[in-house]
C-alpha cells in the first residue's frame, strides 16, 4: 500500500515508452501529469479549507457558520466559487494595467510551484531537489513582490498602504523564519527535504528543536499574513489592503493563493518538525495530509482566538525577540551537536 503511487508512476512511464516515446519525453509527460495532480490537490484543499475555516471560526465564536447548502453547509464554498467565477472582472480606469492584471496570476503560480519539492511520501516528491528547503524559502519570498505589484498597480491609497505593511512585515519575518530553520539543517546536514524527513525516523525534530519550532511557527504566521498578524488587510482600517480594487476571479486567485500558501507552509512544517511521512498503521502517503490538517487547524485556532497586533509591536517583536531567539537556537544547536559527538566518542 505504501508504494501505490510509485507503482502508478512507473506504470505510466513504461506505458509511454512501450508506445515509442524516448525516456526523456516519457519523464516529461509524467512531470506534466504530476503538475496536474498538484493543481487538483490545491483546488480540492482550498475548497475544503475555506469551509473548514468558516466552521472553525463559527465554533470558536459560538455561532453556526455555513449551514444551509448540503449537510453542515459543505457545498457553501462551491456556491461561492461559482458566484466568484461569474462575477464581472472590473478593471478600474486609472490602474497600472499590466501590473494590476498580472499580479494575481504570478501569486497563484508561485504558490503552486512551492508544492514541487514537498515529499508526500518516501520518493513521492515531484522534484526532489538537493536544495529543496532553500527552493521553498526563496520562492515564497517572491510572493512579497506580487503583493507589492497588486498594491501599487491598484492606484489606491488603501491598497498601497496595505502592500507597504505586507512587504515590511514579510521582509522582517523572513529573517527569523530562515534563521530558525538553520538548526535543522545543522542536525540533518542536508537541505534536501526527503533527507530531513528520513533523518526523523527515530526522533521527530520537534523534540530536538523546540525553540526553532516556536520561532518558525510565529514567523510563518506572519509570512502568511494570517491573524493575529493580519495588519496588511486589517478590514476596519484598510478595507481589504492590497486587494481592495480586485473583483471576481482575480480577487479569488489571491484568496486561493493565500490558502495554497497555508497548506504548503503547514506541509513544510510537518516535514521539518513532525516527522513527515513517519507514523504507525496508516500508509505513509496518508500521514502527511493528516498531520498537515492538524497544523492547519492550529493556525485557524490561533487566528480566531488572538486579537490583531499593532504594527510597531509587530516589527519590534521580530527584531528584538524572534531574531535573537533564533540566533540563540543556532548556538545551542551547535553546542548540542558537539556534546552529542563527544558523548558518543566516550
Amino acid at each position: 500500500m505504501d508504494l501505490w503511487f510509485t507503482n502508478i508512476a512507473n506504470y505510466i512511464v513504461q506505458l509511454l515508452m512501450s508506445w515509442g516515446f524516448p525516456y526523456f519525453w516519457a519523464d516529461l509527460i509524467l512531470l506534466l501529469i504530476q503538475w496536474m495532480c498538484v493543481l487538483a490537490i490545491v483546488v480540492l484543499d482550498v475548497i475544503i479549507l475555506i469551509w473548514l475555516e468558516r466552521k472553525a471560526a463559527g465554533f470558536i465564536q459560538m455561532r453556526l457558520g455555513p449551514n444551509r447548502l448540503g449537510p453542515f453547509g459543505i457545498f457553501q464554498t462551491i456556491a461561492d466559487a461559482i458566484k466568484l467565477m461569474t462575477k464581472e472582472d472590473i478593471i478600474p480606469n486609472k490602474v497600472d494595467k499590466w501590473i494590476f492584471l498580472t499580479a494575481p496570476l504570478f501569486m497563484i503560480f508561485i504558490s503552486v510551484m512551492l508544492y514541487l519539492v514537498l515529499p508526500i511520501g518516501e520518493g513521492l516528491a515531484v522534484v526532489d531537489l538537493d536544495v529543496g528547503l532553500l527552493y521553498f524559502l526563496s520562492l515564497s519570498s517572491l510572493t512579497t513582490i506580487c503583493v507589492l505589484m497588486a498594491g501599487w498597480g491598484s492606484n489606491n491609497k488603501w491598497s498601497l498602504m496595505g502592500a507597504m505593511r505586507a512587504v515590511a512585515q514579510m521582509i522582517t519575518y523572513e529573517v527569523p523564519l530562515i534563521l530558525s530553520l538553520l538548526g535543522i539543517v545543522m542536525i540533518t546536514g542536508s537541505l534536501r527535504l526527503s533527507d530531513i524527513v528520513a533523518a526523523q525516523s527515530h526522533v521527530w525534530l520537534i523534540i530536538m528543536q523546540p525553540l526553532a519550532l516556536i520561532c518558525y511557527f510565529i514567523a510563518a504566521t506572519a509570512e502568511l499574513n494570517r491573524g493575529p498578524f493580519d495588519m496588511p488587510e486589517a478590514e476596519q482600517e484598510l478595507t481589504a489592503g492590497a486587494y481592495t480594487e480586485y473583483t471576481g476571479m482575480r480577487w479569488a486567485l489571491f484568496f486561493l493563493a493565500e490558502y495554497t500558501n497555508l497548506v504548503a507552509v503547514s506541509a513544510l512544517f510537518v516535514c521539518l518538525f513532525l516527522g513527515g511521512w513517519h507514523g504507525p498503521f496508516l500508509p505513509q502517503w496518508l500521514w502527511i495530509p493528516v498531520k498537515t490538517y492538524v497544523v492547519i487547524c492550529v493556525f485557524f485556532w490561533i487566528k480566531w482566538t488572538f486579537p490583531r497586533i499593532r504594527m510597531d509591536h509587530l516589527m519590534s517583536f521580530s527584531w528584538k525577540v524572534l531574531i535573537p531567539l533564533s540566533l540563540l537556537n543556532i548556538v545551542l544547536t551547535g553546542f548540542g551537536i558537539e556534546i552529542f559527538a563527544w558523548v558518543r566518542g566516550l
Partner: protein
C-alpha cells in the same frame, strides 16, 4: 553543414538560448520602459533569468541564493525606496536624459565596459577538466571554502556589511543629542 549543426544542438543548448534570450530581453526592457516600477518588475525577471542560467549549469545553490537575495529582497527594497521617494508622475519617471552630454557619456562608459568584458572573455582560456562530479555536494564545497580557506575575507565582508547597516541607520535617525 546545416544538418551537422542541427545534429550537434542538444536540448540543453536550446534551453540555455531560451533562458539567455529571456534574460537579455528583460534587461533591455528594464532600460527602455518609461515607468520606473515597470522597469523594476523587468529587472526582477532578469534576475530570475540569471538564476535560470545557473540552474542549467547545475549550480542550484547559487541559483537559489540569486532568487532569494536579488529577486526576493534587494529588488523589493529598491521598489520600496522608489515608491516612497517618487515625487513625479510615475509614467514619466524613467525617461532618457534630455542632455546630449550625458547620452554621450553613457555610450562611452557602456562601450568601455563592453570592450573590457569582451576582451576578458576572449583572452581567458577555459580549460575543460572533465565533467563535474554529480555526486559531490556543492554546498559542502562552498561551505568548506567560505568557512575554511577564505574565512578571513568572508568575515571581513560580513563586518563591512554590518558597518554599512549601522551607518545607514545612524544617517537616517541622526545622533541623539545630549540632554
Amino acid at each position: 553543414m546545416m544538418r551537422e549543426i542541427l545534429a550537434s544542438v542538444s536540448i540543453f543548448d536550446i534551453v540555455f538560448v531560451a533562458i539567455a534570450g529571456f534574460t537579455l530581453l528583460c534587461a533591455l526592457a528594464m532600460i527602455l520602459f518609461n515607468n520606473i516600477v515597470h522597469s523594476m518588475v523587468a529587472m526582477i525577471f532578469c534576475f530570475l533569468g540569471i538564476a535560470g542560467v545557473y540552474f542549467t549549469m547545475d549550480a542550484g545553490f547559487i541559483g537559489m541564493v540569486q532568487i532569494m537575495v536579488y529577486a526576493g529582497a534587494i529588488s523589493v527594497i529598491l521598489i520600496f525606496a522608489f515608491m516612497v521617494l517618487m515625487s513625479r508622475d510615475p509614467a514619466r519617471s524613467n525617461r532618457y536624459s534630455p542632455r546630449k552630454g550625458s547620452i554621450l557619456a553613457g555610450f562611452f562608459a557602456s562601450g568601455i565596459i563592453a570592450a573590457m568584458l569582451g576582451y576578458a572573455i576572449i583572452a581567458t582560456e577555459f580549460p575543460v577538466s572533465g565533467l563535474p562530479d554529480a555526486e559531490v555536494n556543492q554546498m559542502e564545497v562552498i561551505a568548506d571554502l567560505m568557512l575554511g580557506s577564505y574565512v578571513i575575507p568572508f568575515e571581513a565582508a560580513a563586518i563591512l556589511l554590518l558597518v554599512a547597516v549601522i551607518g545607514a541607520i545612524l544617517l537616517a535617525k541622526g545622533v541623539e543629542k545630549d540632554r
